[in-house]
Symmetry: C2
Subunit: 289 residues, 2 copies
């Protein structure tokens, strides 16, 4: 009888600790998803699931390899330039791209849609893990839709500034010229929202992992920026924090697509200014071995 | 006396469960870092710490914003082309980049270093979170160093293929033409290893977070690929799995730098082939709203 009591107490204690520690762990798990601000914002949670599951990549992928099974191989056709021309071409391309700046003041003048189509086609020539081409470029021209996008982004940005940034940011706020007002979201004739497809689907509807989808889509965006600059259009590279899921729903994109970047595209407004930055010189960027 | 025994037993049980659950949790933590293969490979662990701490970004960053504090703003100077020229330029740039293919057969012919410098300079014009320019381009020409890189990559690739890939991959192996032999690492006259700087340092030596460093460096790589194609050079975009830390040590790069991509660069060899892939048509890539 007495030893039974001991056993009973022991079992109860074990259960209590077990439950407590499990609770503890699920709190830890939730911590990553926690946000300042007390309102329920169900779309926020999704943001943190955006990145490719590294563990999955570890297990399944070997390299950035196009899936070459059962695909015929053909002779590669190459355009080769004389050496001097290579030097000239590379120098001129550098000079062209070196003029690119992030421009936050965009005029409301319309841009030719054929150019937008060409720059998106150009972005789509990027390499991708296992040739998955895991990108969707949503080109928004409709003024109402642009304004809805602006409202979502400004609302989240305002929360970012006021609640999430902490004391350091609040005191630094005066020093920062930009704030949560994003006029270019209304004025730019075109917004390009770039979504990464974190997974695709096999023929029988199962999930197909898109290896390195974020790197692939970012590379495509690099090519997109080069194409915009080449065409004489300006943009600013933005990553609207916490807005991805709401914008995804607004634009009726499927759940396997996550917002990576938003580029407002157009001509610069007449009085557009940029910070007087310098770029690092080559010897701070390149190491030769 | 008897109740003392009960209490004692209870306390012991509580301790045992506590220890057990803690152990359990640390195992869970370690799971992410686990690798197949029994040899100790201390450098492997580091790979998983490569990505930016999302939580940190959440807390500290507001957007992809250049730090504009105390930097003068100047008028932006813009080159504008007539509309027809914009269409032509964007069309021609698309046609140029659409010829780009990932080429795994690279001749050992030397390339002009001035061109390599220009393409790296061009990559360095990419935008980056808070204008941190968090990239290092390591250009390897030295044949011995190239061979050491090849040895590391082939060793890891071989382990990837044989041990990590699981049964599915082993059975699929026959279908895949490429394997863990990477001849281009010896033959290509230049290897460009692109490192992302996951953090920098403030004036007083403290860590300075590099927001969105992976996206920034990937965008720079997109521009690099465009610049290589423009110059008439070929490459293949590779992400050597698990090799980052060993290659970092080999190339004497600091611990805040993590390997993102490796690009072997040169001219295609005479019999270079590529898989006969098609790219998605525009209507599968672009959505207009």
């Amino acid at each position: 009888m007495l030893s039974l009591t001991s056993v009973l107490i022991a079992v109860v204690c074990v259960l209590i600790v077990w439950i407590f520690k499990n609770e503890d762990r699920s709190v830890e798990r939730r911590k990553g998803e926690a946000r300042a601000g007390s309102q329920a914002r169900p779309w926020v949670d999704e943001d943190l699931k955006d990145s490719t599951d590294l563990q999955q990549v570890e297990e399944d992928a070997d390299e950035w390899q196009e899936s070459e099974e059962s695909v015929e191989h053909i002779l590669f056709s190459h355009t080769r330039y004389p050496e001097e021309e290579m030097v000239t071409r590379s120098q001129e391309f550098y000079e062209l791209l070196n003029k690119r700046r992030s421009v936050r003041f965009i005029s409301n003048e319309q841009v030719p849609m054929e150019v937008i189509e060409n720059v998106v086609k150009t972005a789509g020539t990027a390499p991708s893990g296992a040739h998955t081409e895991p990108w969707t470029f949503v080109v928004v021209k409709d003024p109402d839709m642009k304004h809805k996008i602006r409202e979502i982004i400004e609302e989240e940005e305002r929360i970012n500034y006021l609640k999430r940034m902490g004391q350091r940011w609040v005191t630094d706020l005066k020093k920062i010229r930009t704030n949560w007002i994003k006029e270019y979201l209304d004025t730019a004739p075109v917004l390009i929202l770039i979504f990464k497809q974190v997974h695709g689907f096999t023929a029988n509807g199962k999930r197909k992992v898109h290896y390195y989808n974020e790197i692939s889509v970012s590379i495509a965006c690099g090519i997109l920026l080069a194409a915009l600059q080449n065409a004489g259009l300006v943009t600013v590279t933005t990553t609207p924090l916490n807005c991805g899921p709401r914008l995804r729903v607004l634009l009726s994109r499927p759940t396997n697509e996550k917002l990576l970047l938003l580029l407002p595209v157009g001509y610069p407004s007449k009085e557009a200014t940029v910070p007087d930055f310098r770029r690092k010189p080559l010897d701070q960027v390149m190491v030769t071995v």
